[in-house]
Symmetry: C2
Subunit: 328 residues, 2 copies
């Protein structure tokens, strides 16, 4: 695989936005060198099926079967299950495609049979020909609950059924404090051979915070020797897509780079921001690299991935030089 | 609904063959006048889904969405779920269509939520616009086990996975002796207004016997005042379709009308046989009507249904005349 880079990279991500950078990283690294730790706070039980939206988006994106238009679910999808479900009076607010359903049915059968979410994710990744390691943040149940002006809503209730309309007051992650991280995830983070830990430009409050809410994962990131680099989801003082900006406003946060830098400040060594926000960095002490972070094409994803890794390498280099100077 | 007949009819049936006559009866009776008691011995749990093959065949047949070629499953079916399931390494020996899957997923969710199989069947029949009452023989688990020369096989293992190849030694119905019948089924059978009880030309050993193995149902049929009429599945000394003849041979039974008459002798008042077997009745004491029982078209189904009901009426008439003579 000519032109691919050596060294292991660990990335934290949620669904659509995060999966774009994950795909970029996947394309530039040697096989087996990318580990993705994926949010499972959005997981839920629906029609008796265990659904893991972010894991599926990552699996489908990296294997090339994701629908490029919708951003979620599978390409060449059909909806006959959904049509008949509606005919039978079943709930249709959460769209399940015929192809997609294979993942949910088989995962549910595996979980009921005593296997873990990690086991099933590994199987799926292998079956779909993915050489990256895709890990659920934990095999324990963590459920994102959105406390809104209209009451507490399970994540998918808020996100899909209510289309993010209710005003968010607080977001909590039930079960996270007790959840043990996947041992493969902590091992991946703490390895001495890790080149960089990347926080993808997913929604910090809804997609990354649930991962950080698992105490073992937060510790492992803080103790890691590799540089931790977050990619800001803000572009030109707004969120690229999805409800990030709306939620930030409702939580009383200004939608800008500083808010993101403050949010991740105890965790990261550096922040990658969009070039359009380059002047919006007053008072930020975290090292910053500004570049084009909008990922429209696969080439954009690959270029950004390469820049983030290169930036991480430069931080490692600097810190080695500093250590050498101190040692002199 | 001009031309439709009054009076309630209760029919016992399994899947494909039985559903043909059920459809004929459904077409000639006034709405709400047909009750079907359906075999659930073939039910099984597959990929975590509760599948009721015979109930589904009856539901799909009566609502007009059954696939006319295959004989099972739905028309205009697609198989994308199955394709992706195979890609993920899931078991694909039992074919589940995308449309069909809505029934299995919703039924499983209902059962897990504490509803009964009867509840779900009623919902589905209503949603599919069926005015007949379709009742599972019981809401308790009964599982048909085929004892073969190659060991004991769950029904679908024998029937679908092994394509009925292993030699049958005995068929048993685990759970039947303890199963309580659906109260709606016993009520339907024992009502004083029942015009006829019809045993459809399903496989007697695999589709009707499990129903009769539920003690409450066998009693209710024996105590019923309405005439009980079985339609033989034998045509010209062979079974129309499926493994009936092969199984009869393996169980040491001759494939003819006499065997069927003997099988049902304690239960039925009359037997309807195919005209091709009209001379094969020596020694049978059960009243017999010979007609054309092969059902190729909807017209065949309707004609046979009408003849069976008419034959039942004539038996009722005779017995009334006999009672009147005795009373003189």
């Amino acid at each position: 695989m000519a032109g691919r880079q050596a060294g292991r990279v660990v990335a934290l991500c949620g669904g659509i936005g995060g999966a774009k950078l994950a795909l970029g990283l996947y394309n530039i690294l040697e096989p087996g060198m990318l580990t993705l730790i994926v949010n499972t706070g959005d997981d839920f039980e629906h029609l008796g099926l265990h659904i893991s939206p972010d894991l599926d988006t990552v699996l489908y994106t990296l294997s090339g079967v994701a629908d490029p238009e919708r951003g979620w679910g599978r390409a060449d999808e059909t909806w006959n299950f959904m049509t008949e479900l509606g005919q039978l009076g079943g709930e249709t607010w959460f769209r399940l495609g015929d192809r997609d359903l294979a993942t949910h049915v088989l995962r549910t059968a595996w979980l009921r049979g005593g296997k873990s979410l990690s086991d099933f994710t590994e199987l799926s990744a292998h079956a779909l020909g993915i050489s990256a390691k895709i890990l659920p943040m934990t095999d324990h149940p963590v459920r994102t609950v959105v406390e809104t002006a209209e009451g507490n809503l399970a994540f998918q209730d808020y996100f899909v059924r209510r289309r993010c309309e209710p005003v968010v007051k607080r977001i909590r992650f039930d079960g996270a404090a007790e959840a043990k991280p996947s041992p493969k995830a902590t091992n991946a983070l703490s390895g001495p051979d890790v080149r960089a830990i990347v926080i993808c430009p997913s929604n910090p409050y809804m997609s990354i915070d649930p991962i950080l809410a698992v105490p073992g994962l937060q510790c492992a990131i803080k103790n890691a020797t590799a540089p931790v680099i977050a990619v800001s989801p803000i572009i030109a003082g707004n969120a690229v897509k999805g409800p990030t900006a709306k939620i930030m406003g409702e939580l009383g946060r200004v939608v800008n780079t500083q808010t993101i830098a403050t949010h991740y400040r105890d965790l990261i060594d550096a922040l990658v921001i969009d070039e359009s926000d380059g002047r919006d960095v007053a008072g930020i002490r975290t090292p910053i690299m500004a570049t084009r972070t909008k990922m429209e094409s696969l080439a954009d994803r690959i270029r950004l991935g390469r820049e983030v890794i290169g930036y991480g390498d430069s931080l490692t280099q600097k810190s080695a030089e500093r250590a050498a100077r101190v040692g002199q």
